[in-house]
């Protein structure tokens, strides 16, 4: 995993990561060009117009040509920005933040952030998320999933470490239980705040297998720095095996827990 990172941008691991990187590089090249041209002129002025014997300042005679000339940098910057934002940028922004894949064509999950963990809720084969209720939240049920709801029977809830299959987009419904968090996977070049009281859709399509760090980028309290999850991108087969294996383990544990609860009740 450390190999994903370096002194520059992390590796590109999503379909839009390359577009993002081209945008970053384009903007930075233009910034450097503007700064260097400007800096050269600045340095020239500092030397050329230094105070020295025999050199006097020139009282300017206002000419319209001069004044108009000062607008040249403005016009260039404005034209560049208009092109950057409207022609180049808006389609990319719309692609990332406005046009979501259909839930049935994607790995549709719900992520509920909390201090200081990521709860990932899979709807299971029926594609329906079971009902959740804040009053049902406890240490074994971090999102308050209602076991009585039939839609929740095939659901799976995992904390922090979760898997997704390669080859189709992930559609995340993002929310939070307590304070604002922010969903950030550097390799995917995606970031979105998780806001309590709101369900915000985010999508990303991974292009590489492997494990990626999911970190919180909005200050969320004392454990902000250690609120780390891991997204594991598997082949579809590996993903299915992981999902089914984990589902089975959880069900067995639930049965055991239920049996233990019954045994513990003396009046039965």
């Amino acid at each position: 995993m450390t190999g994903n990172y370096g002194w520059g941008l992390p590796i590109e691991a999503s379909t839009f990561a390359h577009e993002m990187d081209s945008s970053l590089i384009l903007v930075h090249i233009s910034m450097v060009v503007i700064f260097v041209l400007w800096g050269l002129f600045f340095a020239y002025c500092l030397v050329r117009y230094r105070s020295r014997p025999g050199h006097n300042a020139v009282y300017p005679h206002h000419s319209a040509k001069h004044a108009l000339g000062s607008f040249v940098p403005d016009v260039i910057v404005l034209a560049f920005e208009i092109w950057l934002i409207f022609i180049f940028g808006m389609p990319i922004w719309a692609h990332i933040k406005d046009s979501f894949p259909k839930p049935e064509d994607s790995t549709h999950i719900r992520i509920t952030a909390q201090q200081f963990a990521w709860n990932v809720h899979y709807p299971g084969p029926d594609g329906k998320f079971g009902r959740t209720d804040p009053s049902l939240v406890d240490s074994t049920n971090p999102i308050g999933l209602d076991p009585k709801d039939p839609a929740s029977a095939d659901d799976l809830v995992v904390v922090n470490d979760f898997h997704v299959p390669l080859g189709k987009p992930i559609l995340v419904d993002l929310t939070s239980q307590d304070v604002i968090h922010s969903f950030f996977v550097p390799e995917f070049r995606i970031k979105q705040d998780a806001v309590p009281g709101m369900m915000i859709p985010v999508w990303v399509e991974p292009t590489l297998k492997g494990q990626f760090e999911l970190v919180c980028s909005q200050l969320c309290g004392v454990g902000h720095y250690r609120m780390i999850g891991h997204v594991k991108v598997d082949s579809p087969e590996e993903y299915r095996a992981w999902y089914n294996g984990l589902k089975q383990t959880q069900q067995e544990a639930q049965v055991k827990a239920a049996a233990a609860a019954v045994a513990a009740q003396p009046w039965e």
Partner: protein
């Protein structure tokens, strides 16, 4: 002025003074102390960032146990120091220095007024600010420590935080009130008390900057005051302005009516805090304009363009706030509107910078110390402005938002930009304050070391931001993607320590020169504006006779005259 008055006592003259100059100097000394306090908080945090989990050397064992048990900073304390660093630097340091100190001292002098319009309100403004500062620092005595939800205090984190946050809000209400008193006073003074002949377009750029700043403070701050009171009610009265239903805090469902909006706080906060950015930068631009005209010995290029751009910036600054919120969950089409307004506001900023640099052309540049700070401002503010581009551009902001790139960007604007210019202002007007000048050689040494170390701190932040390092992390090395660029943190922390040591040059120079500096005449920089037409330091009431203004503010090197400066008040 009023001969029936008895001789003022020490307390009346230096503590509860009604004189705008004393109040300005009170603001100056207080805000510089707060700048050092805010900076020292950051030094503690920077040690933790460079060497996570290692005991802080030297001072570690003097810190109380709840901040650094065994000398190692704890995560709570890191968040507290971070929140207080931001709050102190902005609201108690840079704004009071740029507006309270320079505005108070220089604005009445530059318009030829004997004092501010409302001297008592002016005194109250300072003392309310001072109280706000005491309340902010006093929040360290709260059980659980001071505010720890960042200077932005995003709800619901701030609503569920400990009692320090309540004290933070009360402190903010003091500071906001003080700013409102100040801004009303500045506006009334600038509108009503200009010397005869001093028309609006003969005003120095600095006065314009203060007028626009005062309007921004007057309109933007009440919104934050209202927001702060709503947050206070959420905290102490159990209301739900910023709290939605169904929150589960620490595994316990919150018993509140809910129905509030988390994003509402962000809208209210940034509606102030974006204009606030221009409150931080406009006075600095005004100072740079004054020093540049004086140091190049020629009129500023495009005086009207600069003034018009400042007014335009002031107006537009109310329509860009949500560019801090592209990823907050607000409607993504709103982002398109705000990225457009953000693009438009860059135009007047570029215009001002262009005019300032074109002012160098045809000049005869005297490289004296105030000029170094003013010239240093130009490229540094340039970097700050340019790095705003990928943040205001929605696409790249998705990656860079809430990373160190943002921190680098605004520190280039506020520290290497504003603060450098404000230091230049101190050096430039010091002879007016005390009738003596600061040591030129030490000023130059201070300037160069400061610029070098500031860049040493802030430039690596862009490298970190590109690598994806998020802000506000107590221990960045826990996350794998931060590990490779970790050496930059050691470099930045070393630069920060050196920057702190460098400031001692300035502090010693400041206080030594106050008493022992080389004595100067009334107008040591051979400047044209009115503040140099009164004695140094000016007596109570400022001018021996009220000046009349005959011409624009920067009549340098006018052909056919024996001297290369032509004061605004000289009748021939």
């Amino acid at each position: 002025m009023n001969s029936t008055h008895h001789e003022p006592t020490f307390v009346q003259r230096y503590i509860f003074s009604l004189d705008h100059k004393v109040i300005g100097l009170q603001y100056m000394i207080t805000s510089m102390i707060f700048l050092l306090v805010g900076f020292s908080f950051m030094l503690i945090m920077r040690w933790q960032l460079a060497f996570p989990g290692h005991p802080i050397p030297v001072i570690g064992h003097w810190l109380p146990g709840w901040i650094a048990p065994g000398g190692v900073l704890v995560p709570d304390a890191y968040n507290m120091l971070g929140a207080m660093h931001g709050t102190i630097m902005i609201f108690l340091g840079v704004v009071p220095l740029g507006v309270g100190a320079f505005g108070n001292y220089v604005l009445p002098l530059q318009i030829g007024a004997p004092d501010m319009a409302f001297p008592r309100l002016n005194m109250m403004s300072y003392w309310v600010y001072f109280m706000g500062g005491i309340v902010m620092l006093g929040s360290f005595l709260c059980p659980g420590g001071p505010a720890q939800s960042g200077w932005t205090s995003y709800a619901p984190l701030s609503v569920i935080a400990g009692s320090g946050q309540t004290v933070w809000i009360i402190g903010m209400i003091f500071l906001i009130t003080s700013s409102l008193f100040g801004s009303i006073n500045f506006l009334v003074t600038a509108i009503n008390m200009r010397a005869p002949g001093l028309t609006w377009f003969r005003l120095p750029v600095f006065v314009w900057a203060q007028v626009v700043t005062a309007i921004l403070l007057l309109i933007a701050f009440p919104v934050l005051e209202a927001g702060s009171i709503l947050q206070l009610l959420d905290r102490v009265a159990g209301t739900s302005f910023f709290i939605p239903a169904g929150l589960i805090i620490d595994g316990v469902p919150m018993t509140r009516a809910g129905g509030g909006s988390v994003l509402l706080w962000q809208h209210l906060f940034w509606f102030l805090a974006h204009p606030e950015v221009y409150v931080l930068i406009l006075p600095a631009m005004g100072i740079v304009a004054e020093i540049l005209a004086n140091g190049t010995r020629k009129p500023l290029f495009g005086y009207k363009e600069i003034v018009g751009s400042m007014i335009f910036i002031g107006l537009l600054s109310f329509f860009v706030w949500a560019h801090h919120m592209f990823l907050s969950g607000m409607k993504s089409s709103l982002a398109k509107g705000f990225t457009t307004t953000t693009m438009i506001i860059s135009v007047p900023s570029v215009a001002i910078l262009t005019c300032l640099i074109l002012s160098l052309m045809g000049g005869s540049i005297r490289y004296r110390s105030p000029m170094l700070y003013a010239l240093g401002f130009l490229p540094m503010f340039g970097i700050g402005g340019l790095t705003g581009l990928p943040l205001g551009f929605t696409v790249t902001d998705i990656y860079l938002h809430d990373t160190y790139y943002v921190i680098g960007h605004f520190h280039y604007v506020v520290v290497t930009g504003s603060l450098i210019a404000l230091m230049g202002g101190v050096v430039y007007w010091f002879p007016k304050f005390y009738g003596r000048r600061m040591n030129e050689c030490w000023n130059k040494i201070h300037f160069w070391l400061t610029i070098i170390f500031m860049n040493g701190i802030f430039f690596p932040m862009f490298i970190q931001g590109i690598a994806g390092v998020q802000r506000r992390l107590y221990d960045p090395t826990i996350q794998l993607h931060n590990v490779i660029v970790q050496p930059t943190n050691i470099f930045m922390s070393a630069s920060a320590l050196c920057l702190m040591l460098t400031q001692s040059i300035f502090v010693v120079n400041f206080f030594y020169s106050m008493f022992k500096g080389e004595k100067t005449e009334e107008n040591p920089w051979q400047a044209t504006t009115l503040e140099w037409a009164c004695p140094s330091p000016p007596p109570h009431g400022n001018f021996t006779s009220l000046p009349t203004v005959y011409r624009g503010p920067y009549e340098y090197s006018v052909p056919g005259r024996s001297t290369d400066w032509w004061p605004q008040n000289a009748s021939n």
